[in-house]
Symmetry: C2
Subunit: 692 residues, 2 copies
């Protein structure tokens, strides 16, 4: 792995393709390196000139004296590979390729890019790009980039790291963040990612003391394992990862893949994986920056009880709505504490939202008293305060900060987010006092919810997935229903009893062993859509078994005369319980995924499904169930008896272990339906689709 210092704080840098014109792709980075306070040694390489921008120019990289830690490549695509090879010879740790004309530009470009990947792989040099906008490191004035946004605004100190696949969007986000005084330290754009991926930048940020908060933008995720590793490290180091993974919708994904030429994984899976590994997914740039802003004090509450303080009743209602929709608990103040507030301000709204009214303007001590009551007696994990335009007056702003800090000092674990309208310098004073500020009260609440999500992820022991045994080899060829059931029964799944009867007489005999009407289905590895083939009869009474057998065989034979027919599969009809679908699938990015859905229409029409990376423990399975929109059904709503959730979680876990064990040999496995009964659960059908 490359480190933060190797990538973003090199001691020697060469610009190959250096231009005398500081607005050109090979000129701008050189200008930045020479004239912005960068402390390392800088070499310019240009065979056609003796000097470039006033500094000596070397004809080739090879001619540069000594080793070169970091090489910037701004030559046309056909010359890039040669330069990279020279960089390797110069013991470079990192090569940044700004040039375009690779995978995004047709066949020849693809070939060159493959070659670049090979060089990186074989030599260990790490390549950033090609076709990227470069890097920005404000703290060390290291700007190997040709984006013009560096020219606007002062740099400022900070601890936010931005990792972006998109150059234009990454530098845009960097600029907007800087404009909002968020304190961006570094920004890395990865472009075509022939070698270094966004996930590795996340990891490198997570491992560096320079970075506290990580903002990532990705259009595609190439290597799920790398991302999960990075997220694990970030969580362990208590670094929030704010993730913008675009291409959520079909149209967006199509736009992303035409733009980056990479396959889009299923968005709902990505969503689940990010949550599972403690990242927080955002949908908009502003949301990303809001969350980063609220993370600045590095206080991550572990509970979701939110106290809302307001001087506008209306604003309080608005914030309460947002908090509930964000899944926070807007619990009421205890009655006696409410009475204490009423004594302080008779017209106060003491419940939560707590309306302190405009009274405090004459006595800021009230803010101290109210804050203390909310923390000591209300027991809130975090507070949000809405002060409309009070802080527009600098004296009042100061009073407000003082009266709040009086309570917070000594309670370093308490986050108090502010919603207020004030001039920039006043806002900065709040921020310096550890009080993050938002103009919009709803956005203040939403950002607080994100910080709380991080707090929970950081405080919880990462769940221990169950061990995955070596896979038992699957039989050759397609796997029929009977075989699938037997395999899964062996894997510990509760399958309905079943028998394959080869003849009508055998079927009639076997029928005696079941004490219910029968489900009868054609047993053939070649017929996947049994209903379409007339191969399914349900609720068959014992008297009619032999007749049903003949009919099913006749239908199936007519449907596909070439199909191998093993007979008819017989099971007892099982009614009742709640219908559930359990599944496993192999995601192209993240590998084995466990799937749970409420049965039938819920899963298929409403998309009410939960995902996790497999394997999952029964406890993790329980979290999946709790995510389902229709979970009330399993807990006993509307006359449905409450299901045996322990049994169901065991089944989910067992199927996820099977999925993980067979990740290389199957595409998917599905139990549909599973009946979740008051006592136990049972799968009535099973399908295993092998990898082709």
């Amino acid at each position: 792995m490359i480190t933060y210092d190797e990538l973003l704080r090199p001691e020697t840098v060469a610009v190959v393709g250096a231009s005398d014109d500081p607005t050109r792709i090979g000129g701008r980075p050189l200008d930045y390196l020479l004239n912005r306070g960068f402390q390392g040694t800088v070499y310019a390489v240009n065979p056609n000139r003796d000097t470039v921008q006033g500094t000596r120019s070397y004809p080739t990289l090879t001619d540069v004296p000594g080793t070169v830690a970091f090489v910037i490549v701004a030559v046309p695509a056909p010359h890039v590979i040669g330069v990279v090879e020279q960089a390797v010879a110069k013991s470079a740790k990192a090569v940044l390729i700004l040039s375009s004309g690779f995978a995004e530009a047709g066949e020849q470009g693809v070939a060159w890019q493959v070659k670049l990947s090979e060089i990186a792989w074989q030599t260990g040099v790490r390549i950033i790009g090609p076709n990227c906008l470069g890097l920005i490191n404000h703290a060390d004035k290291f700007f190997p980039t040709f984006t013009g946004t560096v020219d606007y605004l002062e740099s400022m100190d900070g601890h936010i790291g931005i990792a972006s696949q998109s150059g234009a969007y990454g530098t845009h986000m960097e600029f907007v963040a800087r404009r909002k005084n968020l304190g961006v330290r570094s920004c890395v754009t990865t472009g075509n990612e022939c070698d270094l991926q966004t996930a590795e930048i996340i990891r490198l940020f997570a491992e560096s003391d320079h970075i506290h908060t990580i903002l990532a933008y990705a259009e595609s995720i190439k290597d799920g394992d790398l991302l999960i590793e990075a997220l694990d490290i970030a969580r362990a180091n208590r670094k929030p990862v704010i993730m913008m993974k675009v291409g959520r919708t079909d149209v967006g994904a199509a736009a992303a893949s035409s733009h980056t030429a990479s396959l889009a994984g299923e968005d709902a899976v990505i969503d689940a994986i990010l949550r599972q590994y403690g990242a927080y997914r955002v949908r908009r740039t502003e949301e990303a920056l809001d969350v980063a802003s609220a993370c600045r004090p590095r206080i991550f509450p572990t509970g979701s009880k939110l106290g809302i303080m307001t001087i506008s009743g209306g604003g309080g209602v608005l914030m309460a709505d947002e908090a509930v929709e964000q899944g926070l608990d807007v619990a009421a103040m205890p009655d006696d504490a409410q009475a204490a507030m009423k004594e302080l301000v008779p017209f106060a709204g003491p419940r939560n939202p707590v309306d302190v009214t405009a009274q405090f303007i004459n006595n800021f001590g009230l803010i101290t008293d109210f804050t203390e009551l909310m923390l000591d007696r209300g027991g809130y994990d975090a507070l949000v305060g809405f002060w409309t335009t009070v802080a527009n007056n600098p004296k009042r702003a100061e009073d407000l900060i003082t009266s709040i800090r009086k309570v917070l000092d000594g309670r370093e674990e308490t986050l108090f987010v502010q919603a207020l309208i004030a001039p920039e310098d006043v806002v900065n004073t709040f921020e310096k006092a550890g009080l993050p500020c938002f103009e919009d009260p709803s956005r203040a609440v939403a950002a607080t919810a994100a910080v709380i999500a991080f707090g929970r992820a950081f405080s919880e022991e990462p769940p221990k997935p169950p061990p995955v045994p070596d896979p038992t080899p699957l039989p050759d060829g397609a796997i029929g229903e009977k075989a699938a059931k037997d395999i899964l029964r062996d894997a510990g799944l509760p399958m309905v009893a079943d028998i394959v009867a080869p003849t009508a007489a055998a079927a009639q005999d076997e029928a005696e062993s079941f004490d219910a009407p029968l489900a009868m289905k054609i047993a053939s590895p070649d017929i996947l859509h049994k209903s379409d083939a007339g191969g399914v009869m349900l609720g068959v009474a014992k008297d009619n078994v032999s007749q049903a057998f003949e009919q099913i065989i006749a239908n199936a034979t007519a449907y596909d005369p070439d199909a191998q027919i093993d007979g008819v599969l017989m099971s007892p009809m099982i009614e009742g319980g709640t219908e559930v679908i359990l599944g496993g699938k192999i995601d192209p990015v993240f590998g084995p995924i466990a799937v749970v859905g409420l049965g039938g229409v819920f899963t298929e029409v409403m998309g009410d499904v939960a995902f996790r990376r497999a394997p999952v423990s029964p406890a993790m399975a329980r979290e999946m169930i709790d995510e389902l929109q229709g979970v009330a059904l399993l807990k006993g709503a509307r006359g449905h008896p409450a299901a045996d959730l322990d049994a169901l979680c065991q089944a989910i876990s067992a199927l996820s272990v099977f999925t993980a064990a067979h990740a290389d040999s199957i595409d998917s496995v599905e139990l549909n339906p599973v009946r979740a009964m008051a006592d136990g659960c049972v799968a009535l059908d099973a399908l295993i689709v092998k990898r082709r």
Copy 2:
């Protein structure tokens, strides 16, 4: 009705309770009236002084010469009624009561407020407040308010009107809007609404040429008819109404009702009504202001085909995601037009999002060409363009505006929204050129979606509800299932055949007339929960009818020995089709409401229900069905046969007419389940709950 001019442009104004101290509630409005350029005549009333703030003071309002059109009341609550009576004698059109101490402050306050309402009702004077923050009219420098926000920032011309129940939040929103240069003209806060309601302010704005766009904030809606009337007028006059109705969640609603002492209607109903009458509901202040900003050019596209132009592929993906989630159609460019773009810029992404790449920086004519291709060949109803920081350079900003306007001039119906980062003066140049600007590209798309929603509402003929006949009187007492079915059958609803058998023998006889197994239910107006009483048996075979009869009667008698038992209700079992719930209910705010839900678990667990104000036509019923999340089921998903939607819509319409006709005598009516079959639909159960 009071007019805009009467409320916001009076010729004579008196301040009763005028204070010499311009920071006090009776001093600030006087200060504003005397020193901010207001052109009307201003009188101060204060019995204890000869002059107030340098102007002559009258001992009482009665002593003021001549008539007074507008009276501001800032005296303590006990004196308010007397002042209002004097105002009436002075022929005042409007009385603004800033004083608090009314309904929000206990019993005596409630009594005083009732008296104020009576005075308004009896004399025709219109009262604003009490307990409000007053009014703001920037155009006429009329600031009868004690909010301090008027002191900050210059006023600016504009055509936005803000109507807010909450004083603090309304003036906050006014201030934030002004800070964003949105062009607020007027702001009215209504406080306790003893007389004038938010809805009436909306109407008065809708009727005035001074106001183009209406922003409304409400915690409760008191009179649904007034609101609907106002929305109808706004829609007819093509005035967007951007509605913030807070208290969406239970916690929020509780906070709102403790704060304003008014009942919260059901939020989903409010949501549906706002949509039905063309208002656009927003959840956050910033969203409200975004939509207002996008409405400024007063261009309201009537189609939802969105063209996205971007110079960042990543930004394009982000915007496409947002557009799809906002329900817009991000249709691709035609192939030949894509080819034309590729000819102009070989590396362009020509599909939609259209990525023009940074090429245009050397040739802004490309923007003209691309815009023209998108409008002429792509046929988009609106465009959104994302320019990152290009317009940070004023020369480039000018080039961008020129190259866009070149296409838009002559296409006055085309909205082109900009997402860009630029200094305030540059943004103002865009805005003056009719190009609304947003910093965040996702917010630009969301605001455009809102403008398109208005465009559709403005362009469609408001739906014609069916006529409502006089109600046929309902029988006395509780209405049993059989009676309910008969009443609704008479009202044109398709009810399952049924018979009440008084004896077991009669039941056995009647069974012969049905050719299916039977559903048998206790017939008793006193037993509402028939299943709980053991009063329901389904799938009874004809042979078992008499035995079932005896059992049901025995169970019911045991359950409630005092219940009146009419016998057992018998219907054929009807299976198949898709289960639907049709209903009607009387909302405390909006009156009769039509309800449609997908049957069973969909309605109850997932909350998948659509509402409209009743009566609805079959066409409106069809819109309700199309709103259901699970609508695919009715259209034939997952083996469900497609339902006869015409029949279903007829039934929804008929039930809504029944609901509207009986709005004074019932609380609710429900058909549950209704089976929507491939041919027709049929209700299996009915419940009419009369108003108590």
